[in-house]
Each structure stands twice: as structure tokens, then as C-alpha cells.
Amino acid sequence: MAHDATFSVKAADRLRDLTLVAKLSLTMAALLLSLAGVIGMTMVSTRASIARHTRELVDARRVKEMAILSLALLRSQDDMSKAMLLDPARMDSLGVAKVEAFDEATALLKRMDSLSTSADLRRLTNNMRQVDEQQLRAMDTRILELTAVGDARAATRLYFDEYEPVRAQYEALVGQLGAVAEAHAEEAARRVAAANRRALVYISIALVIGVVFVSIALYGVARKMGAKLREAVDLMDMVARGNLTRAVEVDGHDETGRMAASVNAMVRDLRRMIGEIKSTSTRLVTSSGEISNAADESSSAVVTLGEAIDQISAGAQEQATVTNETVGVVKQMAASIEAVVQQAAEMAKAGNHTVHVARRGSETVRSAIQGLESTRATVLEAAARVKELAEHSARIGDINKTVSSIADQCNLLALNASIEAARAGEHGAAFRIVAEEIRDLANESMASSGRIGQLVAAVQTGMADVIEAMRVGTTNADEGAQQARAAEESLDEILRTLEGTNGELQRIAEHAHTVTDDVGRVASMVESVAAVAQQSAASAEEMSAQSVQVAEAITRIAKISSNGEVEGEREETLPVMARKLDRLIAGFEV
């Protein structure tokens, strides 16, 4: 319950906060929806009622038409029966047509039964069907059978005596059915008309109620707006007369509420603004005096400042001159350092060439040492070979001695053989000749052996000389190699020293480049300092000129802030203006 109450309060607050247009729109929408609902429901109800009654009307009319049609079909069958009674031969052709008419009549009866919505219609339809099925059809069949077998007399009698009365009864039923159906149709038509009238009345009432509600809503809105506008106009009149103490009542957040709030805010802002103007004018009087004093003090300070600025200007000018001289000196220093850098670069270049030459000398000495060592090895190898030859020649000498000894013994043997041959007489003559020959050969061998021995001795002597010469050569080669190594070491030492010197020269050149760059930067910085010094001098001169203008402006401020009007000037001083403002604001009641 409490929850519902809270919800209702919230809903009311929200409704009050809506704009007038929204409120009007909501009201109109609610009314239109209600009207549409009432009209729609009325139309739906009426449409259903009209549709139902129209269907009843149509069905009743159709039942009536069908009843008349079934009667016509029955009469048509009767006509065919009469024709067959008169001429049984026509039965062959008329029999089929009669069945077709019968089928149509039977279908009509079924349809009538389904369309008969009221009890009396259904009762009459049932009666018709019973008469047809139970009486007329049986009698008709019997008449046809009699006709088919040629008994026309019996058939005619049956037709007129029994069939005709029942058919009259059927016709009476059809007549009743038609009358009842027509009555139903008329009743349905009346109901349709009544439903139409009723719908028209309901819709008219709904429209009238809607118009009344809309008028009431519009009147309420217009009344509220008018009252609020009058209140706002009254307030504005009071504000125009200088009374800022009143306000308009604010109720809600619609257009009138927002207008009232805006008017109140405007009056409130105006009140605050006037209050601020009052206090500001008071402060203005006070401040103008302070400004006047401060302007006087500032004027003397500006004069002092001007003198200081003149001194600064002179100092800056002097600084610019000195700085320009410094720039010249720094540029000369940069040129000298550049020359040093070039010399260092040339020295480094020469050092590189010397190192290159030293490296080539060292390589030459190294190859000479290798040649000497190779020569020494070759000489030692040759010496070994010569020693072997000496040993061989010694052995040749020994063999030669053996040959010489053998030749000597052969000579003795040949001599003995000659002796023995001589003793043998003639028988030994041949043997003697051989012995002589052997002795000659032995002598020649001895002579050859002697020459060989001389040659071997000469060879051994030459070999000894060669060995000695080789030993001396080897000794000289060793000494040469040792000297070459010493020379190589000296060259290496020279090379290392040159490389170290060359590295130092390179570093010196690099340092010289760095120094050159630094000096260049120093020169540019000094130039910047000189430019700044010149600008400072110019600025100081300009400040000096401006300080004079500032002093004049401060003097003017002091005059405007002073109490009283400025002589010879049309402008008013600040205190005078503040007093005028006070007089103007005094007309407002806040």
C-alpha cells in the first residue's frame, strides 16, 4: 500500500515536471486513445452483430429461394411423370432427366437443412425431407415401375389418387418455409439497421465526450499560462520601478514554471550585480587613491630605471665591442690550429711511407737470411759428399797398392818363368815368350798403378782443399746469417718505433681536428654572444626610450586616479565616476 502511494507521488511529480506541450500531447493522446478504443470496440461489436444478422438475412433468403427452386424441380419431375404416363416410350429419355432433377432437389434440401439456423426453419425443412423421402419417392418409384411394365392405368391412378395429395402437402410445407424464411430475413435486416444506429449513437457520444474533455484541458492550460504571465508582467513592472525585492512563485518545471524561474533568476542576478557594482564603486574610490600614490612612486622608479637602463646600454655596447675583438682572436687561433693539423697530417703521411719502406727492408733481410741458410745447407751437403769422395779415393789408393803388389809379384813370377823356360831349352821357348809377355804386362800394371796412385793422391789433396774451403764458406754463411738476423731485429725495432710514432701522429691529427672543430664552435658561440650583446645594446636603448613613455603614462594614471577633475581635460577621474555610479545605483531597492 505504502509502495503504491510512493509510486503515485512520484508519478504526480513527474507529470508536474512535464512541459505544457507534453502535458497537452499526453492529454490529447489519452483522449484520442480512449476515443479510438470506444469507437473501435463499438465498430468491432457492431461489425460482428451486422455480420451475424446479415448472414442470417442472406441464409434465410437463400433458404426461401432454395425452397422455391426445389418446388419447381418437383413440379418439373411431375411434368415428366405425366408425360411418361401419356407416352411410356418417352420413359427411356425422360427417366434420366428426372433422376437428375431429383438429385438437384435432394441436394437443395440438404443445403437448406444446413442453412436453416432457426428451429422453426429446421423443423419445416425436416418435414419437407421426410415427405420427400418417405412418401413422394416411394410412390414415384412405384409409378415408374408400373409405367415401365406398361401398366399405365394403375400408374395413373396411383399418381392422381395418392401422389398428388402428398405433393400438395409438400407444396404447403414449401410455402410455410418461404414465409418463415422471409420473416427471418426481415428480422435480420431490422437488427442490422438497429446495430448501425446503435454504433452511430455510441460513436457520437464518445466524440462529444472527447471534445468536452479536450476543451476542459485546453481551458485549464490557457488559464494557468495566463495567470503565470500576469504575475511575471507585474514583477517586471516592479523591477522597472527599481524594486528588486519580489519574486514569482515557481510551481513545476513546465514552460510557465521555467519562465517564472528564469524571471526570478534574472531579478536575482540583477540584484547581485547592482550590489557588486555598489561595492566595486566604493573600492574604486579607495583604489584610485592608492593608484595615484603608486603612480607617483612608479614615476620616480621609472626615472631611476631609465638611468639604470642607460648604464646597461653603455655596458652592452662595450661588451659587443670586446666580443667582436674576441671573435677576431678566436678566428686567428683557428687558422693556426688548422695549419698544425695540416702539418700533422703530412707527418702522418710521411710516417706511413717510412713504415712501408721499413717493412719492405725487413722482408728483404728475411729473404736474404733464408737464402744464406739455404746456401749453408747446400755447402754442408756438398762437404759431406766431398768427404765421401775422399774416403772412396782413399780406398782406391789402397786397391791401387794391392794391384801394384800383385803386379810386382807377377813380374817376379814372370822372371822365374823365364828362368825356368830358359832351362827347359827349346821346349820352353814358347813358355818363355809367354813369361816375357806377362812380365811386360806386370810392368805396365805397375806403371799404371803408380799413375793411379799419383792421381788419387792429387784428388785427395784437392778434396782436402775443397773441404777446407767449404768449412770456411759455412762459417762465413753462419756469420752472414747472424748479421742478417741482427739486421732484421734492428729493422723490426725500427718498424715498431715507426708504427708507434705514426699512431701518435694520427692521434695528434685527430685531436687537432677535434680542436679545430671546438675552436670553430667557440668562434660561432662568440659570434652569437657578440650578436646578443649588440641586441642587448639596442634593446637597452629602446627600453630607455620606452621608460620615458612609461613615465609619462604613469603620470597620466596618477592624474586620472587623483581626487578631483583633471584640469584642461574632458575626461573624468575615477573617484568622480565612482560617485556618479553610487548615485545611479541608489535608485534600486535590493
Binding site: F102, D103, L144, E145, A148
Partner: protein
């Protein structure tokens, strides 16, 4: 009497009608004011012989579209034949007895 002659008549009808070789013949009888069957399937060009075994006359006919025929009055013991030259369904009835109905389906 009719019962006696009806089979003979039927045999004669069948002999006369069945002279066409290759066409079948079916027999439907009317007895007790009812056809002997309510539905029959026959082939195209077949012949159906209707025999009246009742004591009352009948008039067998069909008004079905394309399959119309009318055997006119069939007195008790008599019969008639119909050759169906089209395919379809024939609703067969009696013009005298409206409740007599049967269906012949020609395939």
C-alpha cells in the same frame, strides 16, 4: 421362369458380345433393387453386361462425362451390354430406383 431363362440369355449375350477376340467381359446383375457390386475395375475397351434378375424393371444409365450410356428399360430377365471405349469413372444408376448406384472404373 425368369430364373430359368436368365442364364440362357446371359450365355447368348456373352456369345454375341464376346465375338471380339482379346476384349474382356464383365457381368453386373441387378437383384433386390441393388447392383451386384458397388465398384468394378475394368480395362479400356472391355464390355460390361448388365442383367436384370429382379422382378421389377430397371433402366441402367450413366451421365458421367465421356462415359454416357442409357440401356433404357430392362424388363425382368433381360440384359444389356456396354463397351467402354474411354478411360474414366462411370457413375452407373437406375432411373427408376434412385438408390441403385455403382461405380465402374475404366483403366
Amino acid at each position: 421362369m425368369n430364373r430359368l431363362f436368365a442364364p440362357i440369355l446371359l450365355a447368348l449375350v456373352l456369345v454375341v458380345v464376346g465375338s471380339n477376340v482379346g476384349e474382356a467381359q464383365q457381368v453386373v446383375t441387378a437383384d433386390g433393387k441393388q447392383f451386384s457390386t458397388t465398384e468394378m475395375r475394368i480395362s479400356y475397351q472391355d464390355t460390361v453386361v448388365f442383367m436384370n434378375y429382379d422382378a421389377v424393371p430397371h433402366q441402367v444409365f450413366s451421365s458421367s462425362n465421356g462415359l454416357r450410356f442409357n440401356l433404357k428399360r430392362l424388363l425382368p430377365g433381360s440384359g444389356g451390354a456396354v463397351r467402354f471405349a474411354k478411360r474414366g469413372v462411370a457413375e452407373v444408376r437406375c432411373a427408376i430406383h434412385r438408390d441403385m448406384r455403382m461405380k465402374i472404373i475404366v483403366e
